[in-house]
């Protein structure tokens, strides 16, 4: 068993390692700018979680074809993720459509393949939602950063 001091030190090191990574990802940004990104990510995570929750329930309750359900969830996520809305703000409609389609394609195929390759995993609804939410939220950030 670790002592309270050892636990505190571990906590300090972990927290500082994470913070250093975050600062490296936002070069030259102020704390307020970084905080704004954090808040946007929280909001995006919550919204994505809702759509994924509904998608997972529909898949597990066999309420439709997997590819169609995945397409539906992907479209809803693209339409409501505030990070996408913020990134697309100044784009022309045709650019928005092209980029939205790229995100949609990546999400729809990711959601479909997740359940296609589901074999061997434990059927824990909440854990699946959490895992998929994290994957999707990260995937969108990754795609947006490449545009």
């Amino acid at each position: 068993m670790s002592s309270p001091l050892e636990n505190k030190l571990k906590e300090i090191f972990d927290s500082n390692r994470k913070a250093a990574e975050i600062i490296k990802k936002h070069p030259g940004q102020s704390f307020e700018q970084i905080k704004k990104t954090f808040d946007l990510n929280v909001s995006a995570h919550v919204i994505v979680s809702n759509h994924i929750g509904l998608f997972v329930s529909n898949v597990l309750n066999r309420k439709g074809d997997l590819a169609i359900l995945a397409g539906s969830a992907a479209k809803r996520i693209v339409l409501s993720d505030p990070r996408i809305a913020a990134a697309f703000q100044k784009l022309k409609p045709e650019e928005k459509a092209a980029r939205a389609e790229k995100i949609f394609d990546a999400l729809a195929s990711g959601l479909t393949s997740y359940f296609e390759n589901f074999k061997g995993k434990e059927l824990d609804r909440a854990a699946i939602i959490e895992e998929l939410t994290t994957k999707v939220t990260k995937k969108i950030a990754e795609i947006l950063s490449k545009f």
């Binding site: 030190l9 913070a19 919550v46 979680s49 809702n50 759509h51 809803r76 409501s80 909440a126």
Partner: protein, 158 residues
């Protein structure tokens, strides 16, 4: 009799959403796609405003059957409540990291320097050199001194 549902702590209960949305489309005869409706109905606004999270409900259900609208309102309220709780939990989880980000930016140490010190401190801690690790932690954050006071190591108070 209605089935009693156990709310999942991590997600909002949206089990009735699809059904309600389909009913809305059927009753209104509108041509809008169901996915756009779902995106609007589920989308919470007002999230992520610091600690004071006030989830608002984006109700765009005017002109539909009052009974369905009422059910959708109940659903949206539940979604908003779950969203608020989830957002708060996520923000609380990240609070310590954010405070550390603020402290690092203020200290002027580069993230590379910090990472080097962290690796050094973690290695000392793993090797059982708690005092050495403590000194490294103080180099990273001198303000952490009181919470790393060896004489108070049994205390649970900050």
């Amino acid at each position: 009799m209605g089935r009693q549902q156990t709310p999942d702590e991590r997600t909002a209960d949206l089990s009735r959403t699809e059904e309600l949305l389909e009913q809305i489309l059927e009753k209104t005869g509108r041509t809008e796609e169901i996915d756009k409706k779902a995106a609007d109905a589920i989308k919470p606004t007002g999230l992520g405003v610091g600690a004071a999270i006030v989830p608002e409900i984006d109700v765009r259900i005017k002109g539909i059957d009052p009974a369905i609208a009422e059910q959708l309102r109940i659903l949206q309220t539940r979604v908003a409540k779950a969203n608020g709780a989830q957002a708060l939990r996520l923000q609380q989880q990240q609070e310590a990291t954010l405070q550390t980000v603020a402290q690092q930016l203020k200290s002027g140490q580069s993230p590379e320097e910090i990472e080097k010190l962290v690796a050094q401190g973690q290695s000392l801690l793993e090797g059982g050199d708690v005092e050495g690790a403590r000194n490294i932690a103080l180099q990273i954050n001198p303000a952490a001194g009181p919470s790393l006071d060896l004489t108070q190591k049994g205390s649970t108070h900050e």
